[in-house]
């Protein structure tokens, strides 16, 4: 699975997620990636989110929409993604979700309960792109 979240110069937010799904999945199985509220969410003035992991759990938790509602309630984007990952971990155990998000001010955040998640971000005017893979990066 791959995903992107973006804020443009006019303050609009957008999110996108795309996947080949899980290997050996049952034909016709659909995971979280195409489902708004699960695999992605974008709402001006709130945030944009993209999710990855085991789709069945991300759908049941409506993970992306859950992040947006926390932010709408005043939680910082970095805390919101952590809280949702912790919630999913408490329900289904570790190893099944990763989130990236951006808020309406351009703050970016990520959280995950898997071994690794490749993630990167950049901003107009910034010299370099920031890349990370391991939790501590």
């Amino acid at each position: 699975t791959v995903g992107a979240v973006a804020l443009d110069r006019d303050g609009n937010l957008a999110a996108a997620t795309s996947t080949g799904g899980t290997i050996l999945k049952w034909p016709g199985r659909v995971g979280d990636s195409p489902l708004p509220g699960a695999g992605y969410w974008a709402e001006n003035g709130v945030c944009a989110v993209s999710a990855t992991g085991i789709g069945e759990f991300i759908i049941r938790a409506m993970a992306s929409f859950r992040v947006a509602m926390l932010i709408k309630g005043g939680i910082k984007v970095s805390d919101a993604v952590k809280q949702v990952v912790n919630y999913v971990t408490s329900l289904f155990g570790p190893g099944n979700i990763g989130l990236i998000a951006i808020d309406s001010l351009g703050n970016v955040a990520s959280a995950f309960n898997t071994e690794v998640m490749g993630r990167a971000w950049g901003r107009e005017g910034m010299d370099k792109v920031i890349v990370a893979h391991f939790p501590g990066d």
Binding site: T1, V2, G3, A4, V5, A6, L7, D8, R9, D10, N12, L13, A14, A15, A16, T17, S18, T19, G20, G21, I23, L24, K25, W26, P27, G28, R29, V30, S33, P34, L35, P36, G39, Y40, A42, A48, S50, T52, G95, I97, G98, I100, I102, L105, G106, S110, T114, E115, V116, M117, G118, R119, A120, W121, G122, R123, E124, V129, V131, H133
Partner: protein, 174 residues
């Protein structure tokens, strides 16, 4: 506000990577995706930014998406994708499409050229044909994917519980 974009290449385990070279290609692809998104910001909006960034990763082949998509139980590629525009909560999505590489662009077409939110299977394939996004399976399935599929099929029982019984009924487990 300065245009800003973040991307991910999927969460999971290091076992996904065939070798360190694959892992480095995967990380480099993330930088390329961010750059594609920031390039799109010069002419377009946040929707253009995320579609260009995800397209960059779908065409890369290092990710479980687009060209690099894994195989399902029948040994086919089936992709899902979704895109959302925060200004009016517009959504476009496709699911279980077999013959595309640029699934996110097909999802955007659902948003902008149909009256729907999510289109699956044959209908999505027909949209792909209409808009020049359809590709033959040969562009999505290669020998290394088939070898990995066969080796994992032998261990299916260790991966899925319920599907194992279904796969056995289908005679897929030998």
């Amino acid at each position: 506000v300065k245009a800003t974009i973040a991307v991910h290449g999927g969460a999971g385990s290091l076992g996904y990577f065939v070798n360190e070279e694959h892992r480095q290609r995967y990380l480099n692809g993330l930088v390329n995706a961010v750059r594609a998104g920031l390039e799109a910001a010069k002419r377009g909006n946040a929707l253009d930014m995320v579609v260009e960034a995800v397209t960059s990763m779908e065409l890369d082949g290092s990710y479980d998406a687009g060209k690099g998509s894994v195989l399902n139980l029948y040994g086919e590629v089936e992709q899902d994708a979704g895109v959302m525009w925060g200004k009016d909560l517009s959504v476009g999505a496709v699911a279980s499409v077999k013959h595309v590489i640029n699934a996110i662009r097909l999802a955007r077409l659902v948003m902008e050229r149909t009256d729907h939110v999510l289109i699956t299977g044959e209908g999505a394939e027909e949209l792909a044909r209409q808009f020049g996004l359809w590709v033959p399976s040969t562009e999505l399935i290669n020998e290394s994917k088939i070898n990995r599929y066969k080796s994992l099929l032998r261990n299916l029982r260790s991966r899925y519980e319920k599907n194992t019984d279904l796969a056995r009924r289908l005679g897929l487990l030998g």
